[in-house]
Amino acid sequence: MSEIPDNLGYTKDHEWVGPDKGDGVKVGITDYAQDSLSDVVFVELPNVGDEYQRGEVMAVAESVKAASDIYAPISGKILAINEKLEESPELVNESPYGSGWMVLMKPSEDRSALLDSDSYKNSLD
């Protein structure tokens, strides 16, 4: 059973968006996504300053077997990337909601398009 924290927003493509504390929102992939990918061995992240529309490919997570696109879960600008993933992509598997976060974004839209944890959970069933 995959972990789905209550305080995050989700997409049906298995990205999560952290709470907005005024200095941007963290974005990553869900526990379900990391488990499906298994063994993340390489993460290609966007450049700081890049802007994305919701649904655009902004990163790629590669496992031994396959590459998976990661879509911007919310429109906005990249404020920072998790540089630790360059050396340690396995953090995505070990801690998808913690040290395996991918980017910090400044949203340019509200969170109304995101799923809450219950809706995301239902989308997995």
């Binding site: 290609e44 496992s63 031994v64």
Partner: protein, 344 residues
Amino acid sequence: MSLAQTCLHDNHVRLGAKMVDFAGWHMPIQYTSIVSEHNAVRERVGIFDVSHMGQIFVSGKDASSFLSYVTTWDVNKLSDGDCRYCHILNNDGHIIDDTIVYTFSNQDYMLVPNASMISKVFDWLNLNSSKFEVDIYNKSEEFFCLAVQGPESLRLLRQYFNLPIAPFKLTKSDDLIISGTGYTGEKGYEIMGPISESQKIWESFLEMGAIPIGLGARDTLRLEKGYLLSGTDFNGSQTTLESGYSWVIDWNHDFIGKERLLVQKKGEYECLSGILLEERGVLRPGLEVYFEGEKISELTSGSLSPILKRGIGLSYLDMPIGSTVNVSIRNKQLKGRVIQTPFL
């Protein structure tokens, strides 16, 4: 079309394996993770169900001369108990399949073709057997095959069979054929026999500590060693010379495809080469290879080496070892070096 299942299919499902379609078979690609399974084989010992592979028996007065004619190796030179890796070629010198010839006696042999090539190899052998006194039986559906691979494999084999088995040698124990062979580059063994015995052996080796390994790690293990994958690194239009496996040819005997190889040998040809990525990234089959801005080839195999933690791939190239090439990944040109395999 429904997928074929090996005799151990339900065991894999019970272990929670991720199952995929491989060459028409419903096979485990991984039980836990490809990287941990890969490392288990390199460091300890793993067990693979490769019962989808074939067992074709060739016997009779002319068995050794027949097999010498249809493979790149002079089978007449093999002694009882020898296992020899070689290629089966068509008249153009193109590889139909790679196989190991198991020598029970000079009138009794077994070939182990790849799953997707069993009927093709069987038909090809029959097509070319008219001048030879041989019997050819396809017993693939009656046999299981388990590969026990890794530095601790000998200990487990001794514990279970209490028999000495040297590398590239085979021994028989009741109905079972046990050989010092495998496709991981580690010390290892393969056990074949009637499917009724598969459960007991699978369960016993798991109990003794062998880790179940899926086809995902089988692919990364063989790729680190530069071993060919049938249907991927050759698909009916490459010769043994092009595949870089000239060592499987015994030139001092006549075999199907030899004339074409002799002609090719005199000229220049592309050769399957290793590409080691010098930047971060994962190589994939089909990625394009560039030299000085021009596309020169595509990768046949590609992955990330779990041991080297670098992108590795294979490609047919006419480039000297040590050359720098670029591999195009998502419209980025990443630098790679042409190297002599194995990678590890």
